[in-house]
């Protein structure tokens, strides 16, 4: 569905490449998670996909076609993106905000159709934000805002969902709800590409993990293949152990206190 091939990105006036030869694939029906420390290039990957940073090398394909070649609008009907940071300075209502997800489907003048309205209603239902629809987005809590943004991406209605840290600011319950929702969307056939810091949750929900380190792929494979103590310790530069989650048996990372280092 979405394939990054040998992607390299250099930000202006920087010596080091932000991404250096990253290849990965997000396929339909699976959650593919990109993990890695701060500054490892995770968000750059998302920005490269939507064309906000030029590629120095390599290419990004959506269903085999070069993502940068066609129209951005057409790409947006197939791939929905929730970026890491977003702020609305104006008090737009939650319902209207979710409806902006239909933007790529609308022309300059065409009014939203029944299909558009149904997509918005479904997105509001599956993300369980019905109680918020009349509120202005400027008055939402951090957690509510994340769910509303997710609803907007679901309303966009493509085959692929790309999310950059979708559970920041969420409490345990809402965080689990988001992961369950992503898992359900993947089972329904969507390609979910997820950038996350929540290694332990990702280990439980993701089908495929890609570990980035300084702009390159340090490891990839199933959670069990990637979540290895020595690898994670080197990449995160912190002493840690990987155990089994007592409840579900997934690999689980436990960082140690710094005095036990060395």
């Amino acid at each position: 569905m979405i394939a990054f091939r040998d992607v390299a990105v250099r930000y202006p006036r920087r010596e080091v490449l932000a991404l250096d030869g990253v290849s990965l694939e997000a396929t339909r029906g699976r959650i593919t998670a990109v993990v890695g420390p701060n500054g490892s290039g995770k968000s750059t990957l998302v920005r490269a996909l939507v064309g906000r940073v030029p590629l120095a090398r390599g290419g990004i394909a959506v269903d085999g076609a070069d993502a940068g070649a066609g129209s951005r609008r057409e790409l947006a009907t197939r791939v929905a993106v929730v970026t890491q940071r977003e702020e609305s300075p104006f008090p737009i209502g939650v319902h209207d905000y979710v409806a902006l997800g239909r933007h790529p489907h609308l022309g300059v003048w065409r009014a939203p159709s029944a299909v558009d309205r149904a997509a918005v209603a479904r997105a509001i239902a599956v993300t369980e934000i019905e109680a918020l629809t009349d509120r202005p987005v400027t008055e939402l809590s951090g957690g509510e805002w994340q769910r509303v943004r997710l609803a907007r991406a679901v309303a966009q209605g493509g085959d692929a969902l790309v999310l950059d840290e979708p559970t920041t600011f969420l409490d345990v319950g809402h965080e689990m709800a988001v992961f369950e929702l992503l898992s359900r969307l993947a089972r329904e056939g969507q390609a979910v590409l997820l950038v996350s810091h929540q290694l332990n949750l990702v280990a439980r929900f993701a089908d495929h993990l890609v570990l980035l380190h300084r702009g390159t792929v340090a490891a990839h494979g199933s959670p069990a293949e990637v979540m290895l103590g020595p690898v994670l310790e080197r990449v995160y530069d912190w002493p840690l152990v990987v155990t089994r989650d007592p409840a579900v048996g997934a690999p689980s990372l436990v960082p140690l206190r710094s005095r036990s280092r060395g």
């Binding site: 006036r13 609008r73 929905a80 977003e86 702020e87 609305s88 300075p89 609308l106």
Partner: protein
């Protein structure tokens, strides 16, 4: 925005226009205005209404409509509630052009043209500086470039005026304070073209501005060509601002304040916001011009000062609401 609100702001504009035609050194009753507009009754009334007050009111309305719409679109596209039409260097550039024209003893008719040219040159410079800064369409880069170009223009004006003849200083200052006192039908025709084209472009971009207001990365993810839409808004906004500056000098606060009023009235999307800001902006400037005429007869207050004086209490009330 609800239909009743649209009717209300439409009626307010009509009432303001009527007041603009009726009030002045010679006060006319509404029936007098009606007859004179149709060319009947006292010939002096006909002349006053048709050749003086009607173009004056129309010019004020066009200035307000252009500034209001440009402000609404620029605030959305830059995600900055303090953005306004003069911010891309328009005011500074226009002032440099006007001061140069006055200092070089150009005929008065050339001053608006010089102001227009200065405004467009400043906007072009702002966009070039922003591009050289390499912000990839980042609105903050453009805003900062606008501030830099504006400061440079102000410095240039101060240098030019510091050694200038007092009459030059006075002429330049007077033009900068804004006025529609010398309105004429040709001016109305030219500005109506600018305002119609500018607002049409902004309304066509309104949906994209809704999305752009969420941030460049999010907008790109929703299929918006960020660089192209931003440039469209900047160019249309600059044309509107420069056109109004050429017609009436600097009329401050309208482009900043009016979009906030229309948002308070319930405009949710930029299509309604831009259209509403055009109507409310027109009303505000027409009313401000009436006040400028009648406040201290027989002299007139500068229009730009009145819009700011009227605007400040509104803005304070808005701030209180935010606090």
């Amino acid at each position: 925005m609800r239909l009743s609100r649209w009717l209300l702001i439409g009626l307010a504009l009509a009432a303001a226009a009527l007041a603009g035609i009726a009030f002045g050194t010679l006060r006319l009753s509404p029936p007098d205005v009606w007859h004179a507009a149709l060319g009947q009754g006292d010939p002096m009334h006909v002349t006053i209404v048709r050749s003086l007050r009607l173009p004056r009111v129309l010019l004020a309305a066009l200035v307000g409509a252009g500034l209001g719409a440009a402000g609404a679109a620029l605030q959305g596209a830059t995600r900055n509630a303090l953005a306004e039409p003069y911010l891309l260097g328009v005011s500074g550039g226009a002032a440099v052009g006007a001061v140069l024209a006055v200092a070089l003893h150009a005929p008065p008719a050339l001053i608006p043209l010089a102001g227009f040219a200065g405004a467009l040159a400043a906007v072009a410079l702002t966009l070039l500086v922003a591009r050289a800064g390499g912000g990839h369409g980042d609105a903050r880069t453009v805003l900062m470039a606008g501030v830099v170009v504006g400061s440079f223009a102000n410095a240039a004006i101060m240098v030019a005026l510091s050694n200038a003849d007092p009459s030059v200083v006075r002429g330049a200052l007077w033009w900068m304070m804004g006025s529609v006192a010398d309105a004429s039908w040709p001016q109305v025709r030219v500005l109506s073209l600018f305002v119609a084209v500018g607002i049409a472009i902004l309304i066509a971009l309104a949906r994209a501005i809704d999305v752009l207001a969420l941030g460049e990365d999010t907008a790109a993810g929703l299929g918006v060509d960020v660089a192209r839409v931003s440039l469209g808004v900047y160019v249309a906004g600059a044309l509107l601002a420069a056109g109004t500056v050429a017609a009436a000098g600097l009329v401050g606060f309208v482009g900043l304040l009016v979009p906030h009023l229309v948002r308070l009235a319930g405009a949710r999307t930029h299509r309604g916001l831009i259209a509403g800001a055009a109507i409310v902006g027109a009303t505000l400037v027409v009313l401000a011009d009436v006040i400028a005429r009648v406040a201290l007869p027989p002299s007139e207050l500068p229009l730009g000062a009145v819009t700011a004086l009227v605007g400040v209490p509104f803005f304070l009330a808005r701030l209180r609401r935010l606090a």
